[in-house]
């Protein structure tokens, strides 16, 4: 006697629900307790386990389709139990109604192709096809027809981008409230798999990766870096490169102080923010990817501003002469001396909670209040395992044994555009004394009562310095 698999009630006021994803295919062998599908209600997604062991058949609960609680969505047959395909749509299996009758001999086990071999088209369009493929068309579709997108929660922007890029929304996982698919989910999907995967049938292995995209193995495909126009404007743009462990969003507090009406571009370094992870880790590699990104973005003339490691990257990129650099501002630059706060790098990377991160964040600024709890929580929110791992590798190459293994000092002598070096005298990450002994053409700005984050601690002054440089054209 086969066992019914029903759509369960998972909360009190639920009258309907839908299968959001099947994890097994028609005819698959399942173990009692194995997760076989996921349901979605207004409030939650929940994984449902097989009630008994056996062979799963008559999978009728279509992904994304609303059905009443208690509906039969599949049957589980004993391993040696004879299988009779249903001859007519059963009331308990509403999804079957669209399918043609299956003309299988009663009692005879039939060979059912797997879903991934079958064209993902509605079965009613092929009334005269052989029984096998007709049944297959009713098998759980990993790639539902676009019409199914109506039942999916997605923002208008996500829908439009998905439409323009030919991505089916049902393939995306929503990270927004109540599982809503947002802009960022579409972008993540595009960058994680490339648009070409849209037509690829889903292999079982892909289910796990689609449920946890960030955890999929290996670095994301290398490519141009993530960049965002933090502000539109006219004239020569200012390009901002953040420091180690940060991302382009860290510049936002400074924006109000920056010269009005200038376009401002923020770039995420490899292995940071939304840029691809990196296996390359020399300063030259980082600089090369910044140059490629700028050229791809069509930015040739620019004022370049870096912070900490970003300063070293900026100086290295500027030295490659493919760009028309108008000025260079190096905030708390790395690469001017060997010593640094190595404990900070390792402690900062290891921190996984606000309690462990906050003390390291306090090291960054002179006044503790400059970087409040929201900075700490924002930093934590931006973290994930693979990013941190990538940054650890980067740190091991660039800062082995807590030493700055690279130098930009020799580069500064050859620059024939204005260069400013800015330090806080109370910098506890890279000591301000590294500003000593620079070429006389480099302007050195030392801010008292300031730590490693002058762009936050002295934002108005930094904005003023940027304006001075921007005025040069």
């Amino acid at each position: 006697m086969p066992t019914e698999v029903i759509l369960p009630r998972v909360d009190m006021d639920m009258s309907t629900g839908k299968v959001s994803k099947w994890f097994v295919e028609e005819n698959a062998k399942v173990e009692k307790g194995q997760v076989i599908f996921e349901i979605e209600t207004d409030k939650a997604a929940m994984e449902i386990e097989a009630p008994v062991s056996g062979i799963i058949r008559d999978v009728t609960g279509e992904e994304g389709k609303e059905v009443p609680v208690g509906s039969v969505v599949a049957m589980i047959y004993g391993e040696n139990e004879a299988y009779t395909a249903p001859a007519a749509p059963a009331e308990a299996a509403p999804a079957q109604a669209a399918g043609g009758p299956v003309q299988a001999a009663p009692g005879a086990p039939i060979d059912i192709p797997t879903a991934t071999d079958a064209p993902a088209e509605p079965s009613y369009s092929a009334p005269s096809t052989p029984p096998g493929s007709s049944l297959a068309a009713q098998a759980p579709e990993r790639e539902p027809a676009p019409a199914d997108s109506h039942g999916i929660r997605a923002t208008p922007l996500a829908r439009r981008l998905a439409r323009e890029r030919g991505i089916e929304l049902s393939r995306l996982r929503g990270s927004g409230p109540r599982g809503r698919i947002q802009h960022s989910d579409v972008l993540e999907h595009v960058s994680a798999r490339g648009a070409s995967s849209e037509t690829r049938p889903a292999a079982p292995a892909e289910h796990s990766s689609s449920r946890a995209p960030a955890a999929s193995s290996g670095p994301r495909e290398a490519g141009a870096l993530n960049r965002v126009w933090l502000r539109q404007g006219t004239g020569t743009p200012l390009v901002l490169i953040h420091g180690f462990g940060s991302d382009l969003n860290s510049w936002r507090p400074l924006l109000v102080s920056m010269p009005a009406d200038r376009p401002i571009l923020g770039i995420d370094l490899p292995g940071h923010g939304r840029s691809p992870l990196t296996s390359e880790s020399t300063l030259d590699d980082l600089a090369a990817s910044v140059i490629d990104t700028l050229l791809e973005e069509g930015v040739e003339s620019l004022h370049l501003i870096g912070h900490s490691l970003g300063s070293a990257v900026a100086a290295t990129a500027a030295a490659q002469s493919q760009l028309d650099i108008r000025s260079l501002m190096l905030l708390s630059p790395a690469g001017l001396g060997p010593d640094m706060n190595g404990a900070f790098i390792s402690g900062f990377l290891r921190a996984t909670s606000e309690a462990s991160l906050a003390p390291w964040v306090r090291e960054l600024a002179f006044e503790e209040s400059s970087l409040g709890p929201s900075f700490v929580s924002a930093t934590l929110r931006a973290r994930n395992g693979t990013l941190t791992q990538s940054q650890e590798q980067l740190a091991a190459r660039l800062f082995p044994d807590g030493t700055q293994s690279f130098t930009i000092r020799h580069l500064l002598e050859n620059f024939d555009w204005p260069v400013k070096v800015v330090y806080g005298t109370e910098d506890r990450i890279i000591p301000a004394r590294h500003a000593a002994g620079l070429p006389g053409t480099v302007a050195v700005h030392l801010f008292p009562a300031t730590g490693h984050m002058p762009q936050i601690e002295q934002r108005h002054a930094i904005g003023r310095l940027a304006a001075e440089l921007a005025r040069l054209g």
Partner: protein, 332 residues
């Protein structure tokens, strides 16, 4: 801005605008309750009666309907009256003249006449004046074709919009938030106008557009500064005009930020936010939305007298910060 720019209060800026208008054009005169020797309920007219005399700074009896009727009639005959209500709440008493007469006459008479009337309404809560003296009724009047309705948020705009209103051939309603009267800001000397129907972007941002009016512009800017600390980059648009509304400016901003929050002090339901939200939903910006449009408006209740409750009944900075965070939530 050329000319000499001084720091003036919002009330001083309005007074200066009225003085300039009266100096330039002898058809301009002021009407209102206690605006003469008393200087106005909020001291906006101040000592203008001494400069221009009682014929041009006229105290009216306590009858808003009567006063408004005289003002509409004066405008019809070619004068340029500026009529002050003591509280915008008392617009209710003059609705016949404003809605059925001032707004309609140009249309009823085939465009042969116009009503170049300016009305000033001290509005909003925060002064402990309770339910009958604290409302924000601007959306009521903005619903009426034939009227123009503006809500300056700065001393600069208060002067420039008033001078634009005086120059306008049609009735212009100016809602002035009472808590702004003492706010100081740069105001150029001499004559200038701020165009009616143009919004102003007070702060550029990429993550979220806040469309705000009157005092909510300043609360939104405070919230934006806090949000910047946590990496949320907010654009603040000061609507300035409710009718005509600068919908293109909002559309352009939302296309950039993909998120919209409307902040206004009037009762939330059927208010400014409903109009702004619908305008976006009907526009090409719809396909750029990455979060639901959200409104923060006044509570669905008469405004309380109790100061704590009065504050709680209208959006405050922490409410705006919380709403913005919710909309911009970048990660799950």
């Amino acid at each position: 801005m050329d000319a000499n720019v001084r720091e003036l209060s919002y009330a001083q800026a309005i007074q200066e605008a009225m003085a300039i208008a009266m100096e330039q054009d002898e058809r301009v005169f002021l009407m209102g309750e206690d605006i003469g020797v008393y200087g106005g309920a909020f001291q906006v007219t101040g000592d203008l009666v001494h400069r221009f005399g009682e014929d041009r700074v006229m105290d009216t009896p306590i009858s808003e309907l009567g006063g408004a009727g005289v003002a509409v009639g004066a405008a019809l005959t070619g004068m340029r009256p500026i009529f002050e209500f003591q509280f915008s709440d008392f617009a209710t008493l003059a609705m016949e003249q404003i809605v059925n007469q001032a707004a309609k006459i140009r249309y009823m008479l085939g465009g042969n006449v116009s009503v170049p009337l300016v009305m000033r309404f001290p509005a909003g809560s925060g002064t402990g004046a309770a339910a009958q003296h604290s409302q924000s009724l601007e959306a009521w009047l903005a619903h009426v074709p034939g009227l123009k309705v503006v809500q300056p948020s700065t001393p600069h705009d208060a002067k420039g919009l008033l001078l634009a209103a005086v120059a306008d051939p049609d009735p212009v309603m100016i809602f002035e938030h009472k808590l702004l009267y003492k706010m100081k800001g740069p105001v150029p000397e001499g004559y200038y106008t701020v165009p009616i129907g143009k919004a102003e972007t007070r702060r550029q941002g990429r993550d979220l557009t806040i469309v705000a009016t009157a005092i909510m512009v300043h609360k939104s800017l405070d919230a934006a500064a806090q949000l910047a600390e946590e990496g949320i980059d907010v654009e603040v648009i000061d609507l300035r005009s409710l009718r005509p509304m600068d919908t293109p400016a909002i559309i352009e901003s939302v296309k950039k930020t993909s998120r919209l929050l409307c902040v206004y002090e009037g009762v939330k339901t059927l208010g400014i936010g409903a109009e702004v939200s619908a305008a976006i939903a009907e526009s090409e910006a719809f396909d750029y939305l990455d979060a639901p449009v959200m409104r923060l408006g006044g509570a669905e209740s008469p405004l309380p007298y109790n100061p704590d409750l009065e504050k709680a009944a209208v959006p405050q900075v922490p409410d705006i910060v919380a709403a913005a965070r919710k909309l911009v939530r970048k990660e799950a």
